[in-house]
Symmetry: C2
Subunit: 220 residues, 2 copies
DNA sequence: TAGATTGTTAATCGATTAACAATC
DNA sequence: TAGATTGTTAATCGATTAACAATC
């Protein structure tokens, strides 16, 4: 299956970077920006920014550029960031704990709604004001609160089962830190954070002494 | 600038996923695999795997498929994973500590060569047998040991300066967890890990109830 | 008005997929 | 030999870039 219309996924993946850059501009007190200036900051061409935005509407003024505050608001609106998204965090090892403590989520529309781990020794432990609960509780909480987003930070060997059960409980988008490809039913989004793979793709070039500036790679 | 020939970067970024999948196959005792079977496991088409591999040589046997052990060895060789890569880790907050403690690196050719932080209160603290050193020490160690890979886990506001100084010291590839786009000179590779941006790109679909299975996105 | 910059169309570029001869 | 699967070429698909009329 693949979505019926709408902007390409690459474009959707770039929007958050535009939003972030606009936030920084605002912090610097810059209220107006051209596609060129915005592009320079994030190593994206001006044409690409304009094209990307054109999928969603018209946001600029010829001869002037974009009102930073307004464009930011509009992109956040498009991304659904006017609401707060509760997220279930599964797997509270070192990484899970770091994620739980990270302030960058809360500030940007993401609320860690619960910490869950299957290790009984961890259950009850409090991190940043949140108490670690069992994985069974996760399934209950997801159902009860209608949570649709989850972050998986469990070992690779348990990731698939965790994903299966999360989806069963109602999760529709998963960000997985586990180094394994998940199989999920249609209707569920999965994205990965994979530092080892990224490092390995760079050692390829280092091993050959191939110099590069890889621009135009939002994320990756 | 952009590299003079060679396989496309997308292909290089998929190789580590192939390698990992082959490692899992080996663990399962599977010694032979077809492009179709391998592809099914990681949601990539058989054609893509064969095409990708063809940039580097011929590794399979018609009618048979690939010898898992041999192909894995060859991909690891291509990626430069026959050697161990020392990595400087900068920024030892919660995330940096989790990275320092992560065993997945060591197991896969990545050796954390040193922990560095600019906060004097942290210097001297020992994590997993490694002592946190000052950032000035990082510059010295990078030079002395010829380190070319670094992981940045500092706050966004200091990431650019850290990157500048790392590059000055000799770093040629950076994996950054800081939510900001780095400007680096030609000849330096930069990749990002950006969970907030990823989550925001998924809230786009959740907000619209657009169902999806996003395959063919190694990493993302 | 003149200069700047948008939104959009068309051209280009690059990546993925399909198809199949070669061959194990 | 018959069946399976590779490596590769050609076709397709999609994304990026260039260019420019519209217009602030």
């Amino acid at each position: 299956m693949d979505r019926m219309e709408g902007p390409p996924d690459v474009v959707v993946r770039r929007l958050p970077l535009y939003a972030r850059s606009l936030r920084y501009l605002l912090q610097e007190g810059i209220e107006s920006v051209s596609s060129q200036e915005l592009g320079d900051r994030i190593n994206v061409t001006a044409a690409q920014i304009r094209k990307d935005l054109s999928y969603f509407g018209e946001f600029g003024k010829q001869g002037i550029g974009y009102d930073v505050r307004k464009l930011l608001q509009q992109i956040e609106d498009i991304l659904g960031l006017t609401q707060e998204w509760p997220v279930a965090l599964i797997g509270i090892g070192h990484l899970g704990e770091a994620i739980a403590r990270y302030e960058g989520f809360r500030q940007q529309g993401i609320r860690i709604a619960g910490l869950f781990d299957s290790n009984p020794a961890k259950i009850g432990k409090v991190i940043d004001g949140m108490t670690i609960q069992s994985f069974e509780e996760a399934e209950r909480v997801i159902r009860e609160q209608g949570i649709r987003l989850a972050i998986i930070a469990v070992p690779a060997r348990s990731a698939q089962e965790v994903a299966d059960r999360l989806v069963m409980a109602g999760v529709r988008a998963i960000l997985s830190y586990a180094p394994t490809v998940l199989q999920v039913p249609e209707g569920v989004w999965v994205r990965y954070i994979d530092p080892v793979a990224i490092l390995h793709s760079m050692t390829y070039y280092l091993a050959r002494d191939i110099a590069g500036v890889r621009h135009n790679n939002p994320e990756t």
